[in-house]
């Protein structure tokens, strides 16, 4: 009878061991199984783009490395990315957009600068494939690919665009969304994209020359696009990190290659002790309040030294990859180099005029700089 107990226990043991073996088996199986199909690669130069073939299909490699077949002359695009929407409108493709990411529609400036944006539908990343088909969407450009499989199943091509580099630093990738748009929409767009790229590079060159006057301050960035709190920031692979480094500055959270909300804690914040802070997005007023209300945050050196800066919200928060990127680059530098002769109001006015053909009044610029709406109210969802 003792034997039977032993047998019972052995049975249990075998079950447990088997389960473990299976679990570890599949994990080790994939560890040695590199991502074969996804050639996550860098620059636009080595992009594998074919000319449109007879069937009117162009193959575009998106920012996740997928080769996507897109029909030429797509007319209806679901552009579920604020950054890509901004660029599309700037490149004169606003008519082709059916819907955009919902945060974009929360920003009242979009409708002011480009009235047609008011007609855009607000999609979330988990919008249903049928809804897109109902709206006649022929192409999805999306930042978060959680539901992309469903769109592909529905026969809608999906182009992934990101504002983060999968590995390393987001440098050349700044231009990639624009390049992809060029490949999809043809020569005219390619020219627009090239001009924008030149503008961005000009701004970078202008700012780079400032680096000679030494300034290696660290900057903490709060992303106020969503209401995710003061720790919602970015890591070394982000657009903001790249912008700061062009001006010889560094992002305080740079060491986190990919930053998660929970990576920085209260204590970590004290240790980081940044020299300055940038707050962007539609929620910046709300977050500003939270920051000054918090004992910890309000006692940080940079807050006491009054070195908390806002990032203007135009068509989108200008720290996004967007038509406003050149402004962002110059504006950031101007904050840290007092000698740098820079007029944000003028730059912003010119930029918006150039890309969106809209004349901003001085009051408009004031409101944008404070993340207010055109009527001078705190942005709708800032409460």
């Amino acid at each position: 009878m003792n034997r039977s107990i032993v047998i019972k226990n052995t049975k249990k043991l075998i079950i447990i061991i088997l389960s473990f073996v299976i679990l570890t088996g599949c994990s080790s199986g994939t560890a040695s199984d590199p991502a074969i199909n996804k050639s996550v690669s860098g620059t636009a130069a080595d992009k594998n783009v074919t000319e449109p073939d007879k069937n009117g299909i162009v193959t575009v490699t998106d920012m996740e490395g997928n080769d996507v077949e897109v029909p030429v002359n797509v007319e209806k695009v679901a552009c579920i990315s604020q950054s890509a929407t901004d660029l599309m409108i700037a490149f004169g493709l606003g008519d082709k957009i059916v819907g955009t990411y919902r945060s974009f529609t929360y920003n009242p400036w979009a409708g002011v600068i480009y009235p047609k944006a008011l007609e855009y539908k607000a999609y979330s990343y988990s919008v249903s494939a049928e809804e897109l088909l109902k709206d006649g969407v022929e192409l999805v450009i999306i930042q978060d690919t959680e539901n992309a499989e469903a769109f592909r199943n529905a026969g809608i091509p999906v182009i992934a665009v990101h504002q983060y580099s999968p590995e390393g630093v987001f440098d050349e990738e700044i231009y990639e969304t624009a390049h992809i748009l060029g490949e999809i929409f043809g020569e005219e767009t390619k020219r627009e994209a090239a001009e924008w790229e030149r503008d961005v590079k000009d701004a970078i060159n202008e700012v780079s020359s400032l680096k000679k006057s030494t300034c290696d301050e660290t900057v903490y960035y709060i992303n106020g696009e969503k209401q995710k709190g003061l720790f919602y920031s970015d890591g070394g692979n982000s657009m903001i990190s790249s912008i700061l480094s062009t001006a010889g500055l560094s992002l305080a959270t740079e060491k986190y290659e990919v930053l998660n909300v929970h990576d920085v804690s209260d204590e970590e914040m004290i240790k980081l002790n940044p020299d300055a802070m940038l707050i962007g997005g539609a929620y910046q007023n709300y977050l500003m309040q939270e920051l000054y209300d918090s004992e910890l945050w309000s006692n940080l050196d940079c807050v006491k030294n009054d070195r908390v800066y806002r990032i203007p919200v135009a068509m989108t928060g200008i720290e996004n990859v967007s038509a406003e990127t050149p402004v962002m680059i110059r504006y950031t530098a101007s904050l840290f180099y007092p000698d740098y002769d820079y007029d944000l109001d003028k730059d912003l006015k010119e930029n918006i005029k150039k890309y969106f053909d809209y004349d901003l009044s001085s009051e408009d610029v004031y409101n944008m700089k404070n993340a207010f709406s055109k009527d001078g109210e705190v942005m709708v969802n800032a409460e």
């Binding site: 009878m1 003792n2 034997r3 039977s4 107990i5």
Partner: protein
């Protein structure tokens, strides 16, 4: 029909032995009563015989064949079992519950046949519980449930019926119903092996009796012959006051006030 137990010892998970070197032989039809105090190993012995506790080779034989060499289904055709307490917490109706006694005869996935239903009904009436048929087993009293459980074992129609304390939850009238039922079954060429701690049941049923104490069978034989004041005193100790009135086949057990 024969059950042979030879030199059976048993202990739970390396603890002290509950059964010590038990050997006996039950043959033919009739009633066998295992008599003893709580904790003397009666239930454990039954559990070994029904195959619940695994035992070593060549310890228990059913019809001359080692119990370990029976499949569960073959054993179910030989032995049925009435537990002391029904553990099922799912509220089957009494009828459904009794019908389950027929399952060893039903092939996997098949319905019970009409014949199976008739048999279930027959035993339900024999046990006088037909009026309970549609009630749920979780809703009837403990005594009723014990009889229902008996009816389920009966509908399994095996030669051997093993009952663990079948009288424990029964009131007086139900006790006599069950005693009569058991007597009738033994006349129908069934053999009933049951445990009890009341010697009168053994005397009433004119059964053979095994008297157990401390994991051993200390005496066996026909109840009337075995059960006497001396042996009962040995089993029950000095706490009971015994007298045996032979004409009525009854032992009277009285609580004796503990001295001190």
């Amino acid at each position: 029909m024969k059950i042979t137990v030879s030199k059976l010892s048993f202990s739970y998970e390396n603890k002290e032995e509950v059964l010590k070197d038990i050997s006996f032989n039950i043959d033919g039809c009739g009633i066998t009563v295992l008599l003893g105090l709580n904790g003397c190993g009666k239930t454990t012995l039954l559990d070994c015989i029904i195959g619940y506790h695994p035992v070593g080779k060549e310890r228990i034989f059913i019809d001359g064949r080692d119990i370990n060499r029976y499949t569960a289904n073959e054993l179910a055709h030989k032995i049925s079992y009435v537990p002391q307490k029904v553990e099922c917490k799912i509220d089957y109706t009494v009828y459904e519950y009794i019908l389950m006694g027929r399952y060893p005869y039903i092939r996997p996935g098949r319905h019970p046949s009409k014949n199976d239903c008739d048999i279930a009904k027959k035993y339900m009436e024999q046990c006088r519980i037909a009026h309970l048929a549609r009630k749920e087993i979780t809703q009837i009293s403990g005594g009723e449930l014990q009889i229902v459980s008996l009816a389920r074992a009966l509908s399994q129609e095996t030669e051997f019926i093993i009952m663990d304390e079948p009288f424990s939850a029964l009131d007086f009238s139900n006790q006599s119903i069950v005693v009569e039922l058991i007597k009738r079954l033994s006349e129908e060429k069934r053999h009933i092996l049951l445990t009890t701690h009341n010697p009168n049941h053994a005397l009433h049923m004119e059964s053979s009796a095994f008297l157990m104490k401390g994991g051993r069978i200390i005496k066996w034989g026909m109840a009337e012959e075995v059960i006497n004041v001396t042996i009962l005193r040995e089993i029950f100790g000095e706490t009971v006051c015994l007298s045996k009135d032979l004409p009525f086949n009854e032992v009277s057990l009285k609580l004796r006030r503990l001295s001190g």
